[in-house]
């Protein structure tokens, strides 16, 4: 039977080091399979997150040979020969071994102003596939937070976390901004507090997205355009001064209640 050597980072907030484990490897196995084998045999206290083992929940993100990957979707036979290095996501504080403290993301989620739809007609809203499709792309997000992990704005500059939401939340804001029912306006918030301007479109997030969401092209760039239009367009600026309402009202929403 084939064997594989895994170099797994072990430790906690106080520090740690790599440990090598040589374990059996069966045909078709993914990184998470051998991590589980290590847990079941040599190291039952090896910490890692996982849930679905099917690429649907986004729990098992870690860095495999230095790149953010879902361990459950990374087949060992797609990696180069030799030892496989597994480390926790670098952008977030370590809890233990491969588990990081991703609470930054949940704190960002709390700051998102909710969808504000017009009242629902008795038989539900009428929306067309073309209108929901843009938002559906962003709602494929499984919240693995690998885009946040790889984004150099926060990966390399801890201090930026104070005023930067990160790619996962830019697609969330884009989804809401493009939502056919939404009447809320988040553009000032996105520009002033969520730090959209820090993104300089290196597309690292798009490259790591396991759901193949075109984060940069379909969310961040259109969002930047909207925010800039709202801020520098003199007509919009004047309207805002007069109405204290930046963008839309319920009557501007794409979808209206059926008569």
């Amino acid at each position: 039977m084939a064997e594989v050597t895994m170099r797994v980072w072990r430790g906690d907030a106080n520090g740690g080091d790599f440990e090598n484990y040589t374990v059996a490897q069966n045909e078709g196995e993914v990184v998470l399979d051998v991590i589980h084998r290590i847990q079941a045999t040599e190291a039952p206290d090896l910490a890692c997150r996982w849930n679905c083992k099917a690429g649907k929940c986004g729990s098992c993100a870690a860095e495999v040979n230095g790149k953010p990957r879902l361990m459950c979707m990374t087949r060992l036979d797609t990696l180069p020969e030799g030892p496989v290095t597994v480390t926790p996501m670098k952008t977030f504080p370590i809890i233990r071994d491969l588990v990081t403290d991703v609470s930054f993301n949940f704190a960002q989620a709390e700051k998102v102003p909710a969808l504000l739809p017009p009242p629902m007609p008795e038989n539900g809203y009428v929306m067309f596939q073309e209108d929901v499709q843009r938002g559906q792309e962003f709602r494929k997000c499984i919240e693995c937070f690998m885009c946040q992990d790889v984004c150099h704005v926060i990966r390399d500059h801890e201090g930026n976390k104070q005023h930067y939401a990160g790619p996962r939340f830019f697609i969330r804001y884009a989804e809401l901004e493009m939502h056919p029912l939404d009447t809320n306006d988040r553009r000032d918030l996105i520009r002033e507090e969520m730090g959209l301007g820090y993104c300089n479109i290196t597309k690292c997030c798009t490259e790591v997205c396991p759901e193949h969401i075109k984060i940069t092209d379909n969310a961040i760039i259109p969002l930047k355009e909207r925010v800039v239009d709202a801020h520098y367009d003199p007509v919009a600026w004047l309207g805002r001064k007069i109405r204290r309402k930046t963008k839309r009202s319920a009557s501007d929403a794409t979808v209206q209640p059926a008569p």
Binding site: A54, G58, N123, G135, K140, C141
Partner: protein
């Protein structure tokens, strides 16, 4: 020992669809709500549901209505269901689907801008609201975002060990530990809602994640509630079988709803040979008739591939046993020869992705190899349909952990709608219970101390067994002895073995510290797993007939006498290994107007 403590009006255990929907309801009623989850928020098993949520909205077939949905659910459940639950579910699910859109959900649409509905097994009409094949993700994300926007306290990666009573035996809260630190925490609550999901992790081939250890089932039993129908386990017909690494992983029923068919190694659509008498009138007799049905449900009868899941799983099992299986012991699920690659990629994107990346199979050009996988437990905590109240005062249950709604077999798509219908009802039931007063007093300190001591015992032993070895052996034993086809001798053997597992759990040794230690976490899950396995095995042994998700080789047909009651389990002591007592609990009498629905629509 000192530890963290929190008080809530309503404490909800579990953050899947049912727990989150219950939280929204309780919050909207002005209550202080806490949610506890073993994982991070948004990772619960709901996220893995693929095909859709069943609701008779009639958007695709205006003929559809709650009465047809009720009838389909009861027939699918082989009439073992709690008929009041099936009625409420059929009536209320359309409203529960629609409200999700107010909270941001974006379902796939019909041409005239309504929510699109797809065909699934056992449903007479196209009834499942969906988003491609990732409907569960849409549901959980929508509810999660709603709950977060309402400012609800969520305790993530926190494992409840036991429910705790007050001096008079009312449920007064629970004791838990936080996984990242291993520190203990107690929650006092006026009402506790269990929304802990299923128990499939005790079988070797399963679609369930590590979380599906039956915690809620076991805790309810220990706390004085009753479990019913525990022998009814759904083996989903289509799980992946190869590579071994992904064996059991779910392949959505949507593949069949969208035109996929099952073939044996001879290339034959074998399901035509397995149509049970009760479904013969409504099932196509030839491939030609079946194929007409996809475009127009009035032009032909339903394809036999879309029979309820228990029927299809048994048929696959029989084909493999007869030597007509695939090289890896499954059968073929073929959509490649029946639909265009564009259609398949659009309708089933995550299935395309899953097979391409994990099995190296392109489902637009090749057939999938599939076989039954442990998927869902119909059995669960016995509840009052309208309020989700259990027999333990102060304790409520909703979603997979609750029993009765699905009878002996659940129809695909009825789970996501179950979560929101009864999640909301549990939130309301808890609120009304609190409003009525007569609430529990302070938690019994002895119970808290005992639960903590039990949780810490595996650290203190000089030597002992690795919990992973026990889990592996348990899964193999349950798969072999209490799997899809059962027989008395194997069930008797399982009962003896479960007593051995009980002793082994008392001799676990855990390595390392308490902070994020999966070995210890598993050690604290095992008592629940074994308790649930015992109830399943006892029920399976007593139910000497075959019905839905319970198939006996030695009693291959349904026996009308057994169709009159559920087996209900309770325990006399509060210890996790207390003896389980089982009784016959008569089915809820069915009102005449519901009976008429079953008869007229045969």
């Amino acid at each position: 020992m000192t530890y963290e403590h929190h008080d809530y009006d309503v404490l909800i255990i579990g953050a899947g669809g049912a727990g989150l929907r219950a939280a929204i309801e309780a919050k909207q009623r002005g209550l202080k709500v806490g949610i506890v989850t073993k994982s991070l928020l948004g990772k619960a098993h709901t996220v893995m549901a693929e095909g859709g949520m069943a609701a008779a909205m009639g958007n695709v077939y205006p003929e559809d209505n709650w009465m047809v949905h009720f009838r389909d659910t009861m027939r699918g459940g082989k009439y073992l269901n709690n008929n009041r639950m099936a009625e409420l579910h059929a009536k209320e699910s359309p409203a529960r689907v629609l409200e999700l859109e107010q909270w941001g959900a974006l379902f796939d649409r019909t041409k005239d801008g309504k929510i699109l509905q797809r065909d699934f097994g056992g449903h007479r009409y196209a009834r499942l609201a969906h988003v491609g094949d990732r409907t569960g993700l849409e549901l959980i994300r929508t509810l999660q975002q709603k709950v977060v926007s309402m400012g609800t306290d969520v305790f993530m990666e926190c494992k409840i060990l036991k429910l705790v009573h007050d001096a008079n035996g009312k449920v007064a809260g629970c004791v838990a530990y936080r996984r990242p630190t291993g520190e203990f925490v107690t929650f006092g609550a006026k009402a506790v809602i269990l929304a802990t999901g299923g128990a499939g992790k005790s079988w070797k081939f399963t679609s369930n994640s590590w979380e599906g250890t039956g915690d809620g089932h076991a805790m309810a039993l220990w706390a004085g509630a009753k479990l019913i129908d525990m022998e009814c386990i759904q083996f989903h017909p289509t799980g992946m079988v190869w590579p071994l690494s992904v064996r059991g992983l779910l392949v959505t029923e949507g593949v069949r709803g969208d035109g996929g068919v099952l073939r044996n190694s001879e290339g034959k659509r074998f399901m035509f040979n397995y149509v049970a008498p009760m479904f013969r009138d409504e099932t196509a007799e030839s491939e030609e008739e079946a194929d007409k049905w996809y475009d127009d449900h009035t032009a032909g009868r339903r394809p036999p591939e879309l029979l309820p899941r228990d029927e299809v799983a048994r048929a696959i099992n029989a084909e493999v046993k007869a030597g007509r299986g695939t090289p890896h012991g499954g059968v073929y699920l073929d959509i490649a020869t029946r639909r265009s690659p564009e259609f398949i990629r659009r309708r089933l994107p995550s299935m395309y992705h899953q097979f391409m990346e994990l099995a190296g199979v392109d489902i637009t050009t090749e057939a999938m190899e599939i076989g039954p996988t442990c998927h869902y437990i119909m059995g669960g905590v016995q509840v009052v349909a309208d309020t989700a109240a259990t027999a333990a005062p102060g304790l409520f249950a909703a979603g997979e952990v609750a029993g009765g709604m699905h009878g002996a077999n659940r129809l695909g798509g009825n789970s996501l709608s179950d979560l929101v219908v009864f999640g909301k009802r549990a939130g309301a039931g808890a609120a009304e219970y609190i409003e009525a007063g007569d609430l529990a007093g302070p938690m019994n300190q002895d119970e808290i101390d005992a639960a903590i001591a039990e949780a810490l015992a595996p650290f203190e032993r000089e030597s002992g067994e690795n919990p992973y070895d026990i889990q592996r052996d348990l899964q193999e034993m349950m798969q072999a002895n209490v799997g899809i086809i059962r027989t008395q001798s194997e069930l008797d053997d399982a009962k003896v073995q479960l007593e051995n597992f009980t002793e082994r759990v008392k001799n676990i040794k855990v390595k390392g510290g308490r902070a994020y230690n999966p070995g210890w976490n598993l050690a604290t899950d095992l008592p629940a797993m074994i308790t649930v396995c015992k109830a399943v095995t006892i029920g399976a042994s007593l139910r000497k007939e075959s019905r839905g998700g319970h198939t006996r080789e030695d009693f291959p047909s349904a026996d009308p006498e057994f169709g009159k009651f559920n087996f209900a389990h309770s325990t006399n002591g509060g210890d996790w290994d207390s003896e389980i007592v089982t009784e016959e609990s008569p089915l809820l009498p069915m009102p005449d107007e519901l009976k008429a629905l079953l008869e007229e629509a045969k």
